[in-house]
Symmetry: C2
Subunit: 407 residues, 2 copies
Amino acid sequence: MSPSPFSVGLLGHGTVGAAFAKLLQERSEAVGALTGRTPAVCGVLTTSSGSFDEILQSADLVVELIGGIEPARQYALDAMRAGKHVVTANKQLLCEHGEELFAAAADNGVQLRFEAAVAGVVPVVRVLLESLAGAHVERIHGIVNGTTNFILSEMEGGASYADALAEAQRQGIAEADPSADVTGRDAAAKMAILARLAFGTPVVLSDVHYEGIEHLQPDDLQYARELGLGLKLVGTAERLAGGISVRVHPAFLYGGHPLAAVSGPFNAVTLEAEAITEITMSGPGAGGRQTASAVLGDLVSVIRGDSAQPQPTQSLPFVSDISSPFYLHMEVADRPRVLAAVTGLLGERGISIKSVSQRGLGENARLLMVTHPVSESRLREAMKLIGELEFVGSEPRAIRVIEEEFL
Amino acid sequence: MSPSPFSVGLLGHGTVGAAFAKLLQERSEAVGALTGRTPAVCGVLTTSSGSFDEILQSADLVVELIGGIEPARQYALDAMRAGKHVVTANKQLLCEHGEELFAAAADNGVQLRFEAAVAGVVPVVRVLLESLAGAHVERIHGIVNGTTNFILSEMEGGASYADALAEAQRQGIAEADPSADVTGRDAAAKMAILARLAFGTPVVLSDVHYEGIEHLQPDDLQYARELGLGLKLVGTAERLAGGISVRVHPAFLYGGHPLAAVSGPFNAVTLEAEAITEITMSGPGAGGRQTASAVLGDLVSVIRGDSAQPQPTQSLPFVSDISSPFYLHMEVADRPRVLAAVTGLLGERGISIKSVSQRGLGENARLLMVTHPVSESRLREAMKLIGELEFVGSEPRAIRVIEEEFL
């Protein structure tokens, strides 16, 4: 029996949209042989051409690659209400309006798939929704923004933040306005989606605490290297005693951590659950053809009628004051006296020190410490007092440390 | 609406079977909330108790954790012919009788799932069958045997093969009879399954060329470390000009290769396709609870009605004479004359040398070389002649090198 056609309406024809149209053409025959349906684009909507209503009429499935909230949200809802499946790469839409979209898919008996919205070709959405559907995921660590990981790799090689950013822009890895990437907002949106899937509780962008990489100093990266640590922009979603935490911030990773070796514009995600210990997945974080490939995987699953959909089963509170070890960096004019004052001040607040080292001499000395785990609020309070100490130069810096400790 | 029951017949109650029964009990309520069906074991078949026919009567799905070919094969076939889904962790069964089983699943409209048969909790079967169903996978590299990877990690730390094996046995990582692991046969079975899924062509164990780790010498591992290479037992499945190759052998990996950093009893797989570049996945390679977790993921997919099944679409020839760079190790009594003779001999056969180094002096000198890519047959021919050279001591050794070159 020869395959029957499967009509794909394509919304958006930018880098990813054009790459998807090309990839679909290349692979349609193979998909037909595999599934019995040969997919082909039945209409393309761009800013200047095409009609959404006409595309909707003829499509079995709509691929949304416009990006942003509106009109992407309305198109996706209209498509599902018309009984059409939707595949999207739109992280912003998912993390802001996920519940509305998931409900629309369920109500209309259609599929909504979005592998390409998180971590490029790394199939973390599918693995969370399918392989680990029966598991109780405890924690996710992710490098989910390739642009910042590229910039940090460059800085690890000695470049300043400004030079590294310029190089990323030159190579097309960073956008002209890099703020969504470098502030951690893009990674935060992706972590919100992953947390939603892992914990079965609604998570939107404003639930995610995020900090970016703009304020990192080259010497932090240099010390990281000397200490055998990697400095990464890490997204974390985890269950804690009082609820869950979803956050993105720069963090030092010990050399043995699966994410420590991830360099350049790559993404990687570590999923931890008691029954699996941990799974790590990595791959290119972006690229039109790579993203198109993730969209194609979703399309094939829709044709086959696979049905894994996220279901909220609970509403969990967010925990905001998280404990972790911290790396502290202080510029000090007189090392011995400052060391005594700082350790005394930390000790009084129950913050214990794991290691201390110094760099430089006299007026240019730097004191580097790593603490044992301490709550962020307590650490910040102590840092404020340390900053007010005599002999301590410019504002002391603190960066979280992630230890290699699996379930 | 409260979930309806879903009956699971369990064949086998060894380490994995017992772990699966326990995990299912822990997670059944959560699976019920997610899928609308609450799974529970309706009967267990062990060597001393239970009736397959009775279990089959009451089961919606049969989990086969007996291992080996018979009676596992007959049970799986009988179950599918009776309209029951089958989930198995049986790599041997899949790689020897995969086509018969896949056909039985298709003919009877039931699902056959086997994530746990390859690479423990690493969801490579699902990613190949689903995420990459529309992709054209070109190459797979895998560390798919945790036992040998543990032994090699120990040897990298200076242990002899015998001591490393004994330590693995002491820790329960290697079996009393380790031959299936250390000869590469276990890894070969897993690579046969992955090749079958990736290339859509039947592959059985006898199609796979495999070599083990029993003959590796501690100094090979020491040189590897000095040269910045990792020595791993690597499975490869790849498309070549004349067909495909599926093989398992020790190989030196350059430090930047995603598999180079995988140490201890872990599994990791790198999937390469032009459209995705590459995806790497890693996690624990074994463990009863981890394997049970992979079985549970399959069970959830069956309940949901997901349907991804492998389909053969072509029959591809196997290519046997593969080109790669080689590391060569020679014990030489008189270095300068041997170097001239060896390089002359290699040069005459068109084998070019990328690097040469020496270790030791006089009678105990060792000559280490890395060649540019050369076909195995040509290299073996040259090695035979080198072994016959005057001044060359015990048989020269050759180990393949895998360069970091992605599509």
